[in-house]
Amino acid sequence: MPLRLGGRSLDPVPLTVGVVLSCLALLVVWDTTGLTLSSVYGMGPKATPYLIATGLAALAIGHFIASLSAASAPREAADHGPVAWIGGGLAAVVAILWVGGGFIVAMMVLFAATARAFGRRAILQDLGIGLVLGLAMYLLFTKLLALSLPQGPIEHIL
């Protein structure tokens, strides 16, 4: 059901952005009141956050006004399934590294999940490609460029 105010329908997108910006402004102000020290003269650490919070509040008002004017043009429908696959892939990377699964396994899962988001169905094949890619990157970057990457069971064998 569309939101309405005084007989006009409200555009939900700018309305939401306006609410988010208001919350962000309040958050900045709340955090800044917790600062105790300030400079002897000139500008303390509180001035900029307050300035930015004022800007955020003004932009929130701008969005509220925009939500009153004619509804925005219809947007191309988005499919949220693929977005969830990519987000889930990254979340899996966090989880795998957290439990010490290592870099290569994490990259393998991320590769397969992203390929799935773009419509691939051959999950085993993609896991295989991800494994090879992760292995190649691990060897290239740890041996050649001396970067340190998280270790797991596979990395310990190498």
């Binding site: 910006l21 590769f111 993609d126 990457l149």
Partner: protein, 499 residues
């Protein structure tokens, strides 16, 4: 001629074998990402930042500049052959270029784009070398209040010119400014917006933000729209060389495009879109073959391509002399300098002339490499377009995650990458520009530092901001740039209701 002597010294640096290798890697990568739709030079440099911080700074920066220039060349190939601009500055090229390719004149279209880019890149780089020293002399006279005013001007122009509404652009900018607040305040040692999370005390990493917004957000956006599946690539038929007639019709648009691209790129108005669009409009008006426009006029490829490459050199001028990024790629390049503890500006010209002039000289080298690489090897680049999209984006995501893990292997950093990715997706979906967020994060803390320095010199008197004529002038310009879009829109609405 100080500039020429310095440039000569720069060539000694740029022509060292290792530097040539870096430049070659840069232009190769740059052309490849320029050709691939959806991956721009800004994202590529952002992806490479974490894996290059142990390499030689001069070499890495030469490589980054090569990527920037290469991206400009490669984008035109995709625009001409599949009508999908590889990066936003090539949108205009697609108009006439793709028509030429469909009419079997893809070769000359690619040639005029590449040679025009070469001509424009060389002239604009000479202009960069000639004008930079005088801008540096001017910049030395800048006080902190003038720098602050300059940054305010950059904030306004970057957010008001990107995207279709100043409200959205400013919203993006303020998101960046809020992210810039996070971390320890350098003057009093107090943590702002850190909420007791130790990883946040050092502030938000520019690379994490850029990779999240550009790589992860872009991948989510493309996936959400089911834009996968093949575009039809138009094969290049016949000779790739231009006829005498093509040369005669191309050289003036090249020069006019350069004349538009360099100054507009150098202004803090940002982006290559405006000069390419202006160049197209002008060529359409001046052409002796108006009937060909819209059906594949070579002038419509030559002018905008020259303008887009000249503006890339133009963007480097405020970046090198003032430390002022005016586009997303420039903002990432600034992050590249900062990762080696280098701050572009007058001091860098004095302290590291080898690096600055080596970088400028390497732009000539990159241009020569690009024109040689692009024309004969166009078939190779086109083959890149055959990589299946799922694997391409999966590879990008793996590389993005790898960069973040290598730079800072903490779960907090990866969660931030994911959060910025979601933010980037929402911003793309609802048409909020991304570049101002990055400019806000990089320039916000710098602007605050300059403002506080200015106010502590003036013992807290804010009038210092308008007592310096430079600062007052720049702030006035910023105010005009801020109000103009709203005022113009108001005017057009007024006119509309009158009719």
């Amino acid at each position: 001629m100080d500039a020429l002597a310095s440039l000569g010294q720069g060539f000694l640096v740029a022509l060292e074998p290792t530097k040539l290798l870096y430049a070659l890697i840069g232009v190769f990568l740059g052309t490849a990402v320029g050709v691939l739709p959806g991956i721009g030079p800004a994202m590529t440099v952002a992806l490479l930042l974490p894996v290059t911080f142990k390499l030689d700074p001069t070499g890495s920066l030469i490589m980054f500049a090569g990527i920037y220039y290469g991206g400009m060349y490669g984008g035109s190939t995709t625009a001409i052959l599949i009508n999908t601009p590889g990066e936003s500055a090539s949108m205009i090229t697609a108009l006439e270029g793709n028509r030429m390719a469909r009419a079997g004149r893809g070769g000359p279209a690619l040639a005029t784009a590449a040679i025009g880019s070469f001509v424009a890149g060389c002239i604009a780089t000479i202009a960069l070398a000639l004008f930079s020293p005088s801008l540096v002399e001017l910049a030395v006279k800048f006080g902190p209040e003038d720098y602050f005013a300059l940054m305010v001007l950059a904030f306004v122009t970057v957010s008001a010119t990107f995207g279709d509404s100043p409200l959205r652009g400013l919203t993006s900018l303020f998101l960046g400014l809020v992210l810039g607040l996070i971390g320890i305040d350098t003057l009093t040692g107090q943590a702002r917006l850190s909420f007791g999370v130790p990883e946040l005390l050092d502030g938000v990493e520019v690379t994490t933000l850029a990779v999240g917004l550009f790589a992860v957000g872009e991948a989510m956006f493309v996936a959400s729209r089911h834009r996968f599946g093949g575009d039809d690539i138009i094969p290049v038929r016949g000779s790739i060389w231009m006829t005498r007639e093509d040369w005669r019709r191309s050289w003036k648009p090249w020069l006019r495009g350069t004349a538009l691209g360099f100054p507009i790129g150098a202004l803090p108005a940002g982006g290559a879109e405006i000069p390419t669009f202006l160049s197209y409009t002008i060529e359409k008006r001046l052409t002796k073959h108006p009937e060909e426009f819209g059906k594949g006029a070579i002038e419509g490829v030559a002018g905008p391509e020259a303008a887009n490459n000249a503006s890339a050199a133009g963007t480097l001028m405020p970046l090198l002399t003032l430390g002022l990024p005016t586009s997303a790629t420039a903002a990432i390049l600034l992050a590249g300098f900062q990762q080696y503890g280098l701050n572009p500006g007058p001091l860098l010209f004095a302290e590291r002339p080898d690096l600055v002039w080596g970088l400028i000289a390497s732009l000539f080298v990159a241009n020569v490499m690009l024109v040689v690489l692009n024309l004969p090897l166009v078939g190779l680049w086109v083959r890149l377009l055959a990589i299946p999209q799922p694997w391409l984006y999966a590879g990008i995501l793996v590389f993005a995650a790898m960069g973040t893990i290598a730079a800072n292997p903490s779960p907090v950093e990866l969660v931030m990458l994911l959060a910025f990715g979601a933010l980037g997706f929402l911003m793309r979906r609802y048409d909020y520009p991304i570049a101002p967020v990055i400019v806000g994060l990089i320039l916000g803390p710098l602007a605050e530092a300059q403002l506080r320095r200015a106010l502590s010199i003036s013992l807290g008197d804010p009038l210092i901001l308008i007592q310096s004529p430079i600062a007052a002038g720049l702030l006035l310009l910023a105010l005009i740039a801020l109000i103009a879009p709203f005022a113009l829109r108001g005017l057009s609405r007024f006119r509309g209701s009158e009719d």
